[in-house]
């Protein structure tokens, strides 16, 4: 039990550091400026522009180099009256567009997307999420083995 605890603890140390740091940064991503924080405009979908027009406005704001990578996703916020158009470029550029007027309110990077992928291990490749799973299982084993050694300190197996 002791050696299981020891080996899993040592082998998972580096990954625990990364997962902990990314978790803290993601919890406070607005505070650290890792994602844009744009104030809402007139709420509601009534009179909203078609999505194609919203995307066109966003593409015009980010430039051809970013727009060439295509749109990754569109996050429509009716309560705020805006849409966030995220592009599939390396920097994960996002343009925030007013739904009714097509005005571009903000253009910036979504650094939290990088952190989310790093947190899950996806940043290294698709199969690397298994590493994150293994780490989670390892932490559970650490929890159990630590509790066991605390309850039975003389049973140093």
């Amino acid at each position: 039990m002791f050696h299981t605890h020891l080996w899993i603890g040592v082998l998972s140390a580096a990954l625990v550091i990364v997962v902990s740091v990314t978790g803290i940064l993601l919890n406070h991503k607005r505070t650290f400026g890792l994602m844009p924080d744009v104030a809402g405009v007139e709420a509601g979908l009534e009179g909203a522009l078609p999505l194609a027009d919203v995307v066109r406005a966003a593409e015009g704001a980010v430039g051809n180099a970013v727009a060439a990578g295509g749109v990754d996703r569109i996050d429509v916020r009716p309560d705020d009256g805006l849409a966030k158009v995220r592009f599939a470029d390396r920097l994960v550029t996002e343009a925030t567009v007013a739904l009714r007027t097509g005005e571009v309110l903000h253009v910036g990077e979504r650094n939290d997307v990088f952190l989310e992928k790093l947190h899950s291990g996806e940043i290294f490749g698709d199969r690397w999420t298994l590493l994150s799973d293994a780490l989670a299982v390892g932490l559970l084993i650490l929890l159990l083995s630590g509790t066991w050694m605390w309850l039975y300190p003389k049973a140093r197996m």
Binding site: W7, V10, A13, A14, I17, V21, E109, N111, F124
Partner: protein
């Protein structure tokens, strides 16, 4: 990330600490080179983690292939651990305090009184002093204890 880069990263993430843990097994029975290898490797790995984390997070955007930053993501864990271990093996020395480190591994059935490290510290120190005193006549490193 290519297979080679992924492999190097995995070696750094798991291979280096596993090797350090293996070296730390029966640490008191290690010679000066073994101890130096461990401490050098551990120091190198610690520095490697700091460099690795900095390379990953600064800036918080995806890295480009074949860049210095990618090298900072893939190499420092294994590279600095190995470099530290090599440096430690070169400059490793006999500890200044406590029983003198043996020059080689002490085998279980060799009858060497240095075998076994689970007794009280005072007994182990007394045994170490006895061994050191008996060998002082032909000791090249000078006196072990002040």
């Amino acid at each position: 990330m290519t297979i080679l880069e992924g492999g190097l990263l995995l070696v750094g993430l798991f291979g280096a600490p596993a090797a350090l843990l293996a070296i730390s097994h029966r640490f008191r029975d290690r010679g000066r080179r073994g101890r130096g290898t461990f401490w050098g490797g551990l120091t190198g790995y610690g520095v490697g983690i700091a460099v690795w984390v900095a390379a990953i997070f600064v800036p918080p955007v995806m890295w480009d292939p074949a860049t210095l930053r990618l090298a900072g993501v893939v190499l420092p864990l294994a590279g600095l651990a190995v470099a530290g271990a090599l440096a430690g093996a070169l400059v490793g020395r006999t500890p200044r305090r406590g029983p003198k480190a043996p020059t080689g591994r002490v085998l279980k059935n060799s009858g060497d009184p240095r075998y076994g490290t689970t007794g009280p510290a005072s007994r182990r120190i007394a045994e170490g002093i006895a061994v050191a005193t008996s060998r002082r006549s032909n000791d090249e490193d000078g006196p072990v204890l002040p």
